[in-house]
């Protein structure tokens, strides 16, 4: 028997009985980062494959959302800071060893590029809005066009963006992968939390993020071919995600005591039901089956598996952020 007690009081919020300083905002931030990465990955990938007219929603329309998604994520990040007035310190230094530092820089670059990407497609976006009967949104495209005609800076930026779209697409493709991986590496850099501290978390968060991206496109696109392709890709991604999850837990089970205890949170511990039944069951396996049935010809509203994947992705991050902080070295 060994018992450890505090002899002197330490009444500090967020440290006991285990560190719990990161909550909902960080989980949502990681989810939004992954979602933006997924949307951008498909947009740039299919642009580079020369399918911008075949898959208009993926390449031209979906990236409209990424800017707002990234900005919302950054706002949540700033909201979660305890010393927010000093936030610009993030951008006056670059520290290669700190995932949060290069993540913040990646987000900044991605937010700028993902703002200009859809602006450079403004004619196609207008045509698309008309095609779907959303003329009411014309004011937005008209506003952008007016700016472009009136002012030299937006005209110059957008013109050059169109001209160099290919190298920019390569850069953005690379950055979207970095962004997706970053959301996982941010957590896996903390060896004080054995649950986070495994190298598969980066690829797992990337896969999950890209899966939410494909679900987003599948949900909002009106193009049957696009939907079908995204549905197939999402099924593959879900399969990879399941493989990574099992791999992660196997790795922890084969590790030292602190890692076994981390795995126990999901294997009989307090996150067992929410992780396996709600996240894996309703967020991965059920949408996988629904997508499979849809591809097999059954009529299933595409919003259903898409929303399940999106909620599952968010839930996965909430679980990982909460459970990770509970997993600590015993001392």
């Amino acid at each position: 028997m060994e018992e450890r007690l505090f002899q002197t009081a330490r009444d500090i919020h967020g440290l006991y009985p285990h560190v719990h300083i990161w909550g909902g905002p960080i989980a949502i931030y990681l989810f939004l980062g992954g979602l933006a990465a997924g949307i951008l990955l498909f947009a740039t990938l299919y642009y580079l494959k020369g399918k911008e007219n075949e898959m208009p929603f993926t390449v031209k329309i979906a990236p409209i959302f990424t800017f707002w998604i990234v900005i919302l994520g950054l706002l949540l990040l700033v909201y979660d800071l305890h010393h927010p007035l000093y936030v610009l310190e993030l951008f006056t230094s670059f520290r290669i060893e700190s995932p949060m530092s290069w993540g913040a820089w990646t987000l900044a670059v991605v937010s700028v590029l993902s703002l200009i990407w859809p602006l450079s497609y403004i004619d196609d976006i207008e045509a698309y809005l008309h095609e779907r009967g959303w003329q009411k949104l014309d004011w937005a495209t008209r506003m952008v066009k007016t700016w472009e005609h009136k002012w030299i800076i937006p005209r110059f930026v957008i013109m050059n963006f169109r001209k160099y779209r290919k190298p920019i697409a390569y850069l953005l493709l690379f950055l979207s992968i970095i962004l997706g991986i970053y959301t996982g590496i941010l957590l896996s850099a903390f060896n004080a939390h054995p649950l986070w501290n495994n190298s598969i978390l980066g690829p797992l968060f990337l896969t999950s993020g890209v899966s939410t991206g494909s679900a987003f496109v599948m949900w909002l696109s009106n193009n049957k071919k696009e939907r079908k392709l995204m549905s197939t890709i999402d099924m593959a991604l879900i399969a990879i995600e399941l493989f990574f999850i099992i791999h992660m837990i196997m790795g922890m089970q084969a590790g030292p005591e602190a890692y076994k205890q981390a795995a126990h949170l999901f294997l009989g511990g307090e996150f067992t039901v929410i992780f396996w039944v709600i996240f894996v069951g309703f967020g991965l396996i059920l949408p996988f089956i629904l997508e499979g049935l849809e591809l097999g010809g059954k009529h299933i509203p595409p919003a259903l598996p898409a929303i399940l994947v999106l909620i599952g992705g968010l839930l996965f991050r909430i679980i990982m952020v909460a459970a990770g902080q509970m997993s600590e070295y015993p001392f």
Binding site: R4, P84, A192
Partner: protein
């Protein structure tokens, strides 16, 4: 220069003087503390054993807190002392998550605060506040790179352990058995 601390656990009576001295010396806000005492009881009645550990930042050689800091606010100064520059800290909490010893916390003013080994006293050739007030003299502070320092001699001659060496941080608070 490598500052470190050695604490004789069997001489410690758990009085809490080190905690109070630190709070006074460093203006630590109410309810907060940069160091704290843990009472560890082992065994089965009637064969019970107990000792105290005065714990604080371990001023590790391999610092996960400094590594994960996105702005460089967390840094290591001469002598291996880990410090936080308040005006560069954004209060993201990465270092708090990175520390396996729970040595860091959010100061009510927002920035992250922690033990500084009383570097302002050490610079004047004094011991840290906690060491200087210890009524049983169970704490020793000094330079590990100097083979003639009291702490070097103690660590050479006595059995000792550190907290969570398995976390890979190379902690520099030594507990003498």
């Amino acid at each position: 220069m490598r500052y470190a601390m050695a604490i004789e656990v069997n001489k410690c009576v758990g009085c809490g003087d080190c905690v109070v001295a630190c709070q006074t010396e460093n203006n630590v806000p109410m309810g907060y503390s940069r160091d704290w005492i843990i009472e560890i009881a082992r065994g089965e009645y009637p064969n019970l054993f107990m000792h105290f550990e005065s714990q604080r930042c371990n001023h590790c050689d391999d610092t996960p807190c400094v590594r994960t800091c996105p702005t460089g606010a967390s840094h290591v100064i001469e002598g291996g002392i880990v410090k936080v520059t308040h005006d560069e800290c954004i209060g993201c909490g990465a270092c708090i998550e990175a520390c396996p010893y729970d040595a860091r916390y959010f100061h009510p003013d927002g920035y992250v605060d922690k033990c500084t080994f009383c570097d302002h006293r050490v610079a004047d050739g004094l011991d840290p506040a906690c060491v200087s007030v210890c009524p049983t003299n169970c704490m020793h502070f000094g330079d590990l790179d100097d083979p003639d320092s009291e702490i070097s001699k103690l660590l050479n001659s006595r059995e000792h352990y550190t907290l969570l060496p398995e976390a890979g941080t190379a902690p520099q608070i030594y507990y003498l058995k």
